[in-house]
């Protein structure tokens, strides 16, 4: 069925809530407003005020409440309107949700899902456009999921809602209106498995979230230049399936990691490091990263576009990497 990424997420919440009475949604504007990006529209009418809870603007308290609810038999879905607000909640996320099972010797888990969204594309400026997954992937005890496709939006959220541990579920504001096939009976892949979105023998592009689509577009450009790129969607940054990546790089001998987050200290660095560690004998060129510039996101649309990778940049880098064709900026 052709639906939008937004609708797929909404359907996942509806199906999960019908199936599991312990699930409830809480967050700013999730009820009457239907969610800042419309993902929870209609849920309040369907499930009532106890299961669709509009909260005050109190991010630390919201996530803290979700932790407590998760420790007492509920499975809360706490919505953080923008991942940019994570800075207000990192204590509850990293010191409470992530560590409770461990600190308490395995007595209890914190089965909650923190739903949020990030990325550029709407001139949201420096505090409404970030990609902060790296803060979470550095915290043992969390799972981190970033769906790129409509089908993954549905299935990964359903799977997250069965996970016994806290899941940081990061959507992309630029994908909500994207249409695609949703098959509730058939996930793109299992939880914790990377998916090959395009097969190719010349170059491996490793990416996730919106950049999967930019990378596929770039792969199209590369194909016109006689380069077949294999595009791998990581999907779940934790648990991470890097074996699929290693197998591909072992085959292609060339790897590019693409991410919208600022380059320095991003998850792209972890992926790059792992590929170099494990595929050392097979690499014909260094693993390169095409990522966001090391800057805050500016508001002016033109500047904003210049702050993150484009299909053009990915393609030019690929051409250079595989065919030694100097890119526009180096020519």
């Amino acid at each position: 069925m052709e639906v939008t990424y937004r609708d797929a997420l909404r359907q996942a919440l509806i199906d999960a809530m019908n199936e599991d009475p312990t699930i409830f949604v809480m967050g700013e504007e999730v009820g009457r407003y239907g969610g800042a990006y419309g993902v929870t529209k209609g849920l309040l009418e369907m499930f009532g005020e106890n299961r669709v809870v509009d909260t005050p603007i109190s991010e630390p308290g919201i996530i803290g409440a979700a932790v407590g609810a998760a420790m007492t038999g509920s499975r809360p879905v706490a919505e953080l309107m923008y991942v940019d607000f994570a800075g207000l909640t990192m204590d509850q996320v990293a010191n409470q949700a992530a560590k409770s099972r461990y600190m308490f010797g395995g007595q209890i888990g914190v089965p909650m899902v923190l739903r949020t969204q990030g990325g550029t594309g709407r001139s949201g400026a420096a505090q409404h456009s970030q990609s902060l997954e790296a803060w979470f992937t550095h915290v043992p005890g969390l799972r981190v999921v970033m769906p790129a496709t409509v089908n993954d939006a549905y299935h990964l959220l359903r799977m997250a809602l069965k996970c016994p541990d806290p899941v940081i579920f990061i959507e992309h504001k630029g994908l909500y209106v994207k249409k695609g096939e949703m098959d509730v009976a058939k996930p793109d892949g299992n939880w914790g498995k990377s998916v090959i979105r395009r097969v190719g023998n010349d170059l491996t592009i490793v990416t996730y979230s919106r950049m999967v689509h930019e990378s596929l577009a770039a792969a199209g450009i590369l194909a016109q230049n006689g380069i077949e790129a294999e595009v791998i969607d990581i999907r779940t940054l934790n648990p991470l399936d890097d074996e699929t990546v290693f197998a591909s790089v072992t085959k292609t001998g060339r790897a590019m990691v693409v991410s919208e987050a600022v380059m320095t200290g991003g998850f792209a660095a972890e992926l790059s490091a792992r590929i170099s560690e494990r595929c050392f004998d097979y690499l014909e060129e260094p693993v390169v990263r095409v990522a966001g510039e090391d800057i805050p996101i500016p508001v002016s649309p033109g500047l904003e576009r210049g702050a993150v990778p484009t299909p053009q940049l990915i393609a030019e880098t690929g051409l250079w990497l595989v065919k030694r064709v100097a890119p526009s900026w180096a020519a």
């Binding site: 504007e29 009457r32 509009d54 005050p56 400026a125 095409v290 033109g302 890119p327």
Partner: protein, 340 residues
């Protein structure tokens, strides 16, 4: 001010009209597809805050929230540079990097608009510390909304201000809504000033529809703050339109909106000037026309203004003569340039 003082009310009216018209023009700028994005928050209905801004002195500083256009205008902003910033242009207040939600002007004491609800509140505490340490007579005022009053950081900031007797004022513009959430669905006790009093500050709730009343209260609160007793004031008003440009407020009904929009400091001031003071309708119309011309010019200015150069994105991450971030392309060049 002495009751019946035409000059002051006329001045406040003029400022409020400039705010109202400016916001209407921002709207026009959006409709003409010239704004940087749609995260534009109109302060129409909140013009009464002008009374607080009027009670501030040159040298005083302030922080605002995402709905801060009006406050900044009342503190002396240049509409052209504001409009340019909202359009993401090079000659805007922030060179097209900040936009509507991050306008600032250190020259006018504007320490910055903030897109994090509550984010700018604690900054005034630090400003108060600077003034105290350097024996300066200034106060610093934090402007924010009723929704922000549910952020814990407000209470940390108020406690520190009261504990250290800082020259600080917390001004909550209670427009009844945080996006689609009415204040009574966000707070158990909606008398927000009672919280401030419990933390040891002066606390009042004022009718934001009466700019003179707001101004009088602000004078009292500001004077006390200057003398080391920080204060909190909530201005009761109504958000006339949607939360941001794209919100049509489906979550509230016509009737409530009609009633809410009666709380109009601008309209009330106009009536008062004509009926109880010495101004004539013509006089005010002439003034309004001048404002129209001023704000239309701001729109045309912004549209004509240049967009910032692409490489400006690497500027201002750090101080001018500090090492700049390395562009991804340069990084790639260093890796791939030598032939293999």
């Amino acid at each position: 001010m002495t009751v019946g003082d035409n000059r002051l009310l006329l001045e406040l009216y003029h400022t409020m009209r400039r705010i109202r018209t400016f916001e209407e023009r921002v709207n026009e700028l959006f409709v003409r597809g010239q704004t940087a994005g749609s995260m534009l928050h109109m302060s129409i209905g909140e013009e009464g805050v002008t009374g607080v801004c009027k009670a501030m002195e040159p040298g005083d500083s302030f922080t605002t929230h995402h709905r801060g256009h009006g406050i900044f205008i009342a503190r002396g902003a240049d509409p052209k540079r504001m409009m340019s910033e909202i359009a993401g242009k090079e000659d805007g207040y922030c060179a097209g990097k900040g936009g509507s939600m991050h306008i600032a002007d250190m020259g006018l004491g504007h320490l910055g608009a903030n897109a994090i609800v509550g984010g700018g509140i604690p900054h005034v505490v630090g400003a108060g510390m600077s003034y105290r340490n350097r024996k300066l007579p200034h106060i610093s005022v934090a402007f924010f909304g009723d929704g922000a009053a549910q952020q814990g950081i407000l209470y940390e900031a108020m406690n520190m201000a009261a504990l250290w007797k800082l020259p600080v004022v917390f001004c909550c513009i209670n427009n009844q809504y945080g996006m689609g959430t009415r204040i009574d669905r966000a707070a158990a006790n909606t008398n927000l000033h009672e919280r401030a009093i419990a933390f040891g500050l002066n606390g009042v709730t004022i009718d934001g529809g009466d700019v003179e009343e707001v101004h009088e209260a602000a004078e009292r609160i500001a004077t006390a703050a200057r003398n080391g007793k920080p204060g909190f004031m909530a201005l009761t008003c109504y958000r006339f339109f949607g939360h941001a440009r794209l919100d049509k407020s489906p979550y509230r009904d016509e009737e409530e909106e009609a009633k809410g929009r009666k709380k109009d400091a601008l309209a009330n001031a106009r009536t008062k000037l004509i009926t109880h003071r010495t101004s004539s309708a013509n006089e005010l119309d002439t003034l309004d026309d001048a404002v129209n011309i001023e704000m239309n010019a701001a729109v045309e200015h912004a549209i004509a203004a240049a967009t910032p150069p692409a490489d400006s994105i690497f500027r201002d991450v750090y101080a001018e003569d500090e090492p700049r971030p390395r562009p991804v392309r340069d990084h790639l060049s260093m890796i791939l340039s030598e032939a293999r």
